[in-house]
C-alpha cells in the first residue's frame, strides 16, 4: 500500500486515503478536434513499466487533486506536486533523471 505526500496539506497519506486518477498531463480535446486526437485523449493511456506521472486525489483528506511521479516497477516516488500545472516541475524531472539518466521524458 503506497504512501504519497499530499503537496497541499503535507500529510503522508496512505493509499486507502487516496483515489487514483490515472495518467497526468493529458490535454483535453473538445468540439472541433479530429477523431484521432479525441480518441487519443479519451482512451489511449500510457502504461509504462517504470517512470510514470499520475493524478491522485486526497479524497479522505483535504480533497485536493495532485500529481505524483513514481516508478510503477520499483514503487519509488520521485515527488508529488500541484495538479495545477501543464508539466512536471523541474525538480521532479531532475529527481527522475538523477535515478534514470536514460529516461526520455514524460511525454
Amino acid at each position: 500500500m503506497l504512501v504519497l505526500e499530499c503537496p497541499y496539506c503535507g500529510v503522508m497519506a496512505d493509499e486507502s486515503d487516496l483515489h487514483g486518477g490515472g495518467e497526468a498531463h493529458l490535454k483535453r480535446f473538445g468540439p472541433g478536434s479530429s477523431d484521432d486526437d479525441f480518441e487519443t485523449y479519451l482512451f489511449m493511456r500510457k502504461n509504462p513499466k517504470g517512470v510514470h506521472f499520475e493524478r491522485w486525489r486526497h479524497v479522505s483528506g483535504c480533497g485536493k487533486w495532485f500529481h505524483a511521479a513514481r516508478n510503477t516497477m520499483t514503487l519509488e516516488v520521485y515527488g508529488t506536486y500541484s495538479a495545477q500545472t501543464y508539466e512536471p516541475p523541474q525538480d521532479i524531472i531532475d529527481a527522475v533523471k538523477a535515478k534514470h539518466p536514460e529516461w526520455e521524458g514524460y511525454k
Binding site: 500500500m1 504512501v3 480533497g63 520499483t74 495538479a83
Partner: protein, 1007 residues
C-alpha cells in the same frame, strides 16, 4: 506409538491439566501444550486423512509449516475447519475432530482412491475436461465434487460468536520473529532510541535455540532469551507482542500482523483476532527456517516426522514420537534429534545418513552415545499402514535393494533447512541459490524497495541463511543496526557444535524405480508425489508456475512450506537443469491463512458501514416504513398499514397522491451550491443544457454527461442569484457529482473563479404532492405573519421562492417528478422533523399520506420521466432517451459534446426510448429482451431492445413499461415480442407507444 514422557517439557506445566476431546474421545493435556503435543502425548498418531487418496496421516511438524494435521475446531458459532493442531494452543474444553474421512478416521471408504491412484494422476482434473460431456456429468463431476474441499464448511445459518478488530500502528522498525535472531536484532535496533516493535507468532520467545542448545554469552539460550526479553520490555520505545504473526509485507513498509488474542481463551470477551495494520520504516525478517522432508517411499505414514519436530516435542512438551526412532538425514542437525531421543531414555535403532562420509562432531557424539550410524545409506521404504512398524535399509546410491529391515515406531527425517524467505519475498525481495546448503536465501543486494528507492526489508539470522548460532547472532545484530541506521553493538557470542557440510538428497534412494517414486510424497496436503512432478515434466510442463498449477504442488493451505524446494528440485532434475534455472513460485501473503473475521475487523452487522439518516428518519421507522438502501441512506420503500402487503401499500400511496395529498422525504436528493464570477461558464460546461442564461428565481431540468458522452446524472437546477446556482443531483449521487465538479475545477479549469459546496445534509427537503398540495401549505401559512405567497401566479411552475411557510424558513420549488401539483420544500435540517410533523398534522383533513420510493418510481414512469440507473447504464446518451431538447445547440462546448459527435453515437441504429404496453395488460419482466427476426452470425436470435423500467400502474390499472428499442420512435403502434426466461417458454407481446402514459399535456402539474 507416541507417548508423554515421565519428565521434561520446558513449556508445559504438569500441575495444570487441560481436558479436551478429539473425535468425541476425552483426552488430557497440560497447560502450555499445543493440540499437537497433547494428541501425541495421548498416543494419537493418526489425525486425519489425506485430501486426494484419503491416506492415513499423522502430525509431521511442530509449527506453522504443518501440512497434515488439520482439524475441525469448536462448535456452533465457534466452529472452524482446517485448523492446524501444531499452532493451536490447548485449553480446557477444546473440541476437535479429524477431517476428510467417512465414515470414520480409522475406517475410511474414500481410501479406495489410494488403490486407484494410477487413474488419478497429476492434472487429473484438467484431463477430465478432455472427455466427452457425458463423461463429465456422470463420472467425473461426482468424483471431483466428492473429493473437493477440505474440512467442513461452517453452518451457513450460524453467526460467528466472536468479534474481531483492526489496530493501526506506526513504528520506525518492525522485527518479525521472536527467536534469538529477532531478539538480538530488536536489542541492537532499540538502543538507537527509535521506535521498535517485535512480534512473534507463537506464545513464547526464543524460537528454536532453547531446543537446539549451545550457549550465548556463556549462558544457556533460555537464560539469555529471558534476559533479552526483560531488557526489551523495560525500554519505552519497544513494543513486544507474542501470538502475533507477520502475515504480509506490502508496498512502502506496510505490514499486516495477525494477533490471535483469544483463540486459547474462547468466550472471555476479548476480540478473538486482531489485525495489526503496521507502517514500518524498516522491517527485519527474523523468521527462522523450516526443515525439509526427505523423499523416500512411505514418507507420509503416521509416525514419520521432521527431525526438528521430534526434538521439539521431547524438549518443549515432554512428548516422544515413538519408543524406537530411526533418524534419517543428509545433514548434521538431525543428530541433535537422535541425541535428544537417547537423552529422553528412548531407543534410536539407527541414524541413516545419506552422506557417504557421514557427519562431524555431532556424529561422533552420537556414536559415543552408543547409537548405530550408517553412512551412505538410505530408507528403501517405510513399513506400516496407519503407523510405522519399521524401515528397510538400503544404499543411497542404487535402486533400493533391501540390506536389512529395522523395526521402529517412528522416523525422524531431515532433508536440510530452508530459510523462511516469504516475508522478504512478498514485496519483491530476490533470492539466490546457495549451493552449499541447497537452499534459496535472500540476496541482500536486491531487497524490496521503498518510496525513496531504498531497501526496506532486512533479513536476519537463519531467515538470511545462517545456521551456526554464533553466525546467526552476528548477522542479527548487523541487521538490527542497519535497520536503525546507526549505533554500534557487539553481538552476543553464540557457541554450538560445528556442523559438517550437508549433501542435497532429493530422492531416496538415488535410483528408486517408479513403484517407490509413486509413494514418495512431496506435498502432503494436496497429495502430490515425486512421480506426479516427473509426469508433469514429461508432459511438457517446464515452467515451475505451470507445474505448480497442474500438479497442485504447494497450492494447499500450507502453501508448500515443506514441499516447495523438494518439488522444484525434482522438477529441475526431470528437466535436466540446475535448480536456480527452474526458480521458485511466487511467495504471496498471508504467511499462513488468517481468519476472514480478522480481515473484516469491526465492519460487520450494524456497523458494517455508516448509515445516513435524514432528519425525518425516525418518523419513518416509527411509522413502520419498509426501508431500502439508497447509497448509504435508508429510504422508505413504502409505508404498509396493518395487514397490508408492500404491493398494496405502494398502490394505495400512488392513488392517494394522485387524488389527495402525498408527502415524500426528499432530503436525500443531492444539493450542490455552485458559486462565483465564473459559475455560469462552469455550469454550461457541466450540463448539456444552457444554464448560464437561467433567470434568477427559475428552475431548469438539466443533464450531465461524462466526457464519453454517456448520461451520468440529472436533476433540477435553480438560479439563486447572479453568482449562484443550486444543483439537485440524484439521491446518493451528490458525493460523486461533487467530486466530478471538483476534479474539473482543480485539474482543468483551475483559473476559473468558482467554488462548489455540498449542502445535501444541511437541508431537509419534502415533496408536497397532489391536488391538495397548495391547500396544506396555505393552511400552515394561515394566521402567520408574512407567509409566502404560494399561488400559481406568485410561484408558477419551474420557479422557486424563499420565505416563510408557517413558522419555517423555507425555499419552495415548483417542480414535479410525479406529474401532480407539487412543491418541493427545503428547510434547514434542524427544522426538518418539525416541518414534516406540521405537514402530517395539517394534512389530515386533506387526506395526507407519506409515500415511499416505489410510489415515486411508479408515478415518474407513468409520466415517462427517466431514472438514472434504470433508463441509463453507462452506455446510454441523452439522444437515446429522446432528450435532445435538453442538449444545447448554441453552446460551443460542454462535457460529452465532442463524444456525442462520434460515428457510433450518431448511428441511427442505436436503441431508443419508447413506451411499451402489453396486449394483455400484464407487467413485462424487468430487463426482458425484445426479439427480432432471424439469427445473428453466432446463430443466436436477434435482439432488438430491452425493457428499462416496468411497473403495474394503479392509476391506469395495467402494466406499463419503458424500453430502449431499435428504431423505436419510428415504430409507434408496432407489436414486438419479449420471450420470458422463467422456464415457461412463453412470449409476451407488447405494443410500442409514447412513454408518457399519464396526463401528456401536463395539466395536473401546472395549476
Amino acid at each position: 506409538m507416541s507417548t508423554r514422557l515421565a519428565n521434561g517439557g520446558r513449556l508445559i506445566d504438569r500441575s495444570k491439566v487441560k481436558n479436551f476431546t478429539f473425535n468425541g474421545k476425552k483426552m488430557k493435556g497440560f497447560e502450555g501444550d499445543t493440540l499437537a503435543s497433547a494428541l501425541l502425548g495421548e498416543g494419537q498418531t493418526l489425525v486425519g486423512r489425506s485430501f486426494k487418496y484419503h491416506r492415513p496421516r499423522g502430525i509431521i511438524a511442530s509449527g506453522a509449516e504443518e501440512p497434515n494435521a488439520l482439524v475441525n475446531m469448536g462448535e456452533g458459532g465457534r466452529f472452524e475447519p482446517n485448523q492446524r493442531v501444531t499452532t493451536t494452543e490447548l485449553f480446557d474444553g477444546l473440541t476437535a475432530g479429524s477431517q476428510n474421512h467417512w465414515p470414520s478416521l480409522e475406517f475410511d471408504v474414500g481410501v479406495v482412491n489410494n488403490y486407484v491412484a494410477r487413474w488419478l494422476p497429476a492434472g487429473f482434473y484438467y484431463k477430465t475436461f478432455m472427455f466427452p460431456r457425458a463423461g463429465w456429468k456422470h463420472v467425473f463431476e461426482p468424483i471431483v465434487r466428492q473429493s473437493a474441499g477440505l474440512g467442513k464448511a461452517p453452518d451457513a445459518e450460524t453467526f460467528d460468536a466472536d468479534r474481531y478488530e483492526h489496530y493501526y500502528h506506526h513504528t520506525d522498525i518492525l522485527v518479525i520473529g521472536g527467536g534469538v535472531a529477532g531478539l538480538a536484532a530488536a536489542l541492537a535496533a532499540a538502543k538507537s532510541g527509535k521506535k521498535v516493535m517485535l512480534i512473534e507468532q507463537t506464545n513464547h520467545w526464543g524460537g528454536r535455540a532453547p531446543v537446539d542448545g549451545g550457549t550465548i554469552d556463556g549462558k544457556s539460550p533460555t537464560e539469555w532469551v529471558d534476559a533479552a526479553v526483560a531488557e526489551l520490555d523495560a525500554m519505552d520505545n519497544v513494543t513486544l507482542r507474542t501470538r502475533t504473526m507477520g502475515a504480509g509485507v506490502y508496498d512502502h513498509g506496510y505490514v499486516t500482523g495477525y494477533e490471535r488474542v483469544a483463540d486459547h481463551t474462547p468466550g472471555d470477551g476479548r476480540p478473538r483476532h486482531r489485525l495489526w495494520r503496521i507502517r514500518a520504516g524498516k522491517i527485519v525478517t527474523a523468521t527462522g527456517a523450516i526443515e525439509r522432508p526427505l523423499s523416500f517411499a512411505g514418507n507420509d505414514i503416521p509416525g514419520v516426522m521432521l527431525a526438528g519436530a521430534v526434538r521439539d516435542y521431547i524438549v518443549n512438551w515432554g512428548v516422544s514420537a515413538g519408543d524406537r526412532v530411526v533418524v534419517v538425514t543428509n545433514n548434521d542437525d538431525a543428530y541433535r534429534t537422535a541425541l535428544a531421543v537417547k537423552a529422553a531414555g528412548l531407543d534410536v535403532p539407527a541414524i541413516i545418513d545419506a552422506r557417504p562420509n557421514g557427519g562431524g562432531a555431532l556424529a561422533d557424539a552420537a556414536r559415543e552415545a552408543g547409537i548405530r550410524v550408517e553412512n551412505g545409506k538410505a530408507i528403501g521404504m517405510v513399513k506400516g499402514g496407519k503407523s510405522v512398524t519399521g524401515v528397510t535399509l538400503c544404499a543411497q546410491q542404487g535402486e533400493g535393494g533391501t540390506l536389512e529391515e529395522i523395526k521402529c515406531d517412528a522416523v525422524a527425517m531431515s532433508g536440510g533447512w530452508s530459510p523462511v524467505v516469504h516475508l522478504w519475498s512478498h514485496c519483491g525481495g530476490k533470492l539466490n541459490w546457495d549451493e552449499a546448503n541447497a537452499m534459496f536465501r535472500p540476496d541482500a543486494s536486491r531487497p524490496p524497495l521503498g518510496a525513496k528507492g531504498e531497501g526496506f526489508v532486512i533479513p536476519a539470522g537463519s531467515a538470511d541463511g545462517e545456521f551456526d548460532l554464533g553466525a546467526v547472532l552476528e548477522n542479527a545484530v548487523k541487521a538490527g543496526l542497519a535497520a536503525a541506521g546507526e549505533g554500534k553493538m557487539a553481538a552476543p557470542k553464540g557457541e554450538a557444535e560445528a556442523e559438517a557440510p550437508m549433501t542435497p538428497v532429493w530422492i531416496m534412494p538415488q535410483g528408486a524405480g517408479p513403484k517407490k517414486r509413486m509413494k514418495m510424497w512431496l506435498d502432503y496436503q494436496n497429495d502430490v508425489k515425486v512421480s506426479d512432478v516427473q509426469l508433469a515434466a514429461r508432459e511438457g510442463y517446464e515452467s515451475v508456475e505451470h507445474t505448480k498449477r497442474y500438479t497442485t504442488l504447494g497450492m494447499a493451505t500450507d502453501q508448500g512450506k515443506i514441499s516447495n524446494i523438494n518439488g522444484l528440485a525434482v522438477l529441475s532434475d526431470a528437466l535436466g537443469q540446475p535448480i536456480p534455472s527452474t526458480g521458485t513460485t511466487t511467495f504471496r501473503p498471508p504467511y499462513t491463512p488468517i481468519s476472514m473475521g480478522s480481515i473484516a475487523g469491526e465492519a460487520r452487522a450494524e456497523i458494517f458501514q455508516p448509515i445516513r439518516r435524514t432528519p425525518m428518519h425516525e418518523w419513518h421507522e416509527e411509522a413502520g416504513a419498509y426501508m431500502e438502501p439508497v447509497g448509504h441512506w435508508r429510504r422508505p420503500y413504502c409505508y404498509p398499514k396493518q395487514g397490508e402487503s408492500h404491493e398494496d401499500a405502494v398502490y394505495r400511496e400512488v392513488l392517494n397522491t394522485r387524488e389527495n395529498l402525498g408527502l415524500l422525504d426528499a432530503s436525500t436528493l443531492g444539493k450542490l451550491i455552485v458559486r462565483g464570477p465564473d459559475a455560469g461558464k462552469f455550469m454550461d460546461m457541466m450540463y448539456t443544457n444552457m444554464m448560464s442564461n437561467l433567470a434568477v428565481g427559475k428552475c431548469r431540468y438539466g443533464l450531465m454527461c461524462s466526457e464519453n458522452g454517456f448520461l451520468s446524472d440529472d436533476g433540477v437546477v435553480a438560479r439563486i442569484d447572479e453568482d449562484t446556482w443550486l444543483c439537485h443531483t440524484t439521491s446518493g449521487g451528490a458525493d460523486r457529482i461533487h467530486g466530478w465538479m471538483e476534479e474539473w475545477l482543480q485539474t482543468e479549469w483551475w483559473d476559473w473563479k468558482v467554488y462548489v459546496a455540498n449542502v445535501t445534509e444541511q437541508l431537509a427537503q419534502v415533496a408536497v404532492v397532489g391536488p391538495n398540495a397548495r391547500k396544506v401549505l396555505e393552511k400552515l401559512n394561515a394566521g402567520v405573519e408574512g407567509g409566502m405567497d404560494l399561488s400559481a401566479e406568485a410561484l408558477p411552475f419551474m420557479q422557486w421562492r424563499d420565505g416563510k411557510i408557517g413558522e419555517f424558513d423555507a425555499r419552495a420549488y415548483r417542480i414535479s417528478f410525479s406529474g401532480e401539483l407539487s412543491y418541493e420544500i427545503a428547510v434547514p435540517a434542524s427544522q426538518g422533523r418539525a416541518f414534516w410533523d406540521a405537514l402530517i398534522e395539517a394534512g389530515e383533513e386533506f387526506g395526507v399520506m407519506p409515500y415511499g420510493t416505489e410510489c415515486l418510481h411508479i408515478m415518474r414512469a407513468e409520466k415517462g420521466f427517466i431514472m438514472i440507473g434504470d433508463e441509463t447504464d453507462g452506455t446510454v446518451i441523452p439522444q437515446d432517451l429522446g432528450l435532445n431538447w435538453a442538449i444545447s445547440k448554441k453552446k460551443e462546448d460542454f462535457l460529452g459534446k465532442r463524444a456525442q459527435l462520434r460515428s457510433h453515437m450518431t448511428d441511427p441504429e442505436r436503441w431508443k426510448l419508447v413506451g411499451l404496453e402489453t396486449l394483455d395488460g400484464s407487467v413485462l419482466p424487468d430487463g426482458a429482451y425484445a426479439q427480432g427476426e432471424g439469427v445473428n452470425e453466432n446463430g443466436q436470435k436477434v435482439v432488438i431492445g430491452r425493457v428499462t423500467s416496468t411497473y403495474y400502474s394503479p392509476t391506469l390499472k395495467k402494466g406499463i413499461a419503458m424500453g430502449l428499442i431499435k428504431h423505436g420512435p419510428d415504430r409507434m403502434g408496432e407489436v414486438i415480442s419479449f420471450p420470458t426466461v422463467d422456464g415457461t417458454n412463453t412470449v409476451i407481446k407488447a405494443r410500442i407507444c409514447d412513454p408518457v402514459f399519464y396526463d401528456k399535456d401536463g395539466e395536473k402539474q401546472n395549476v
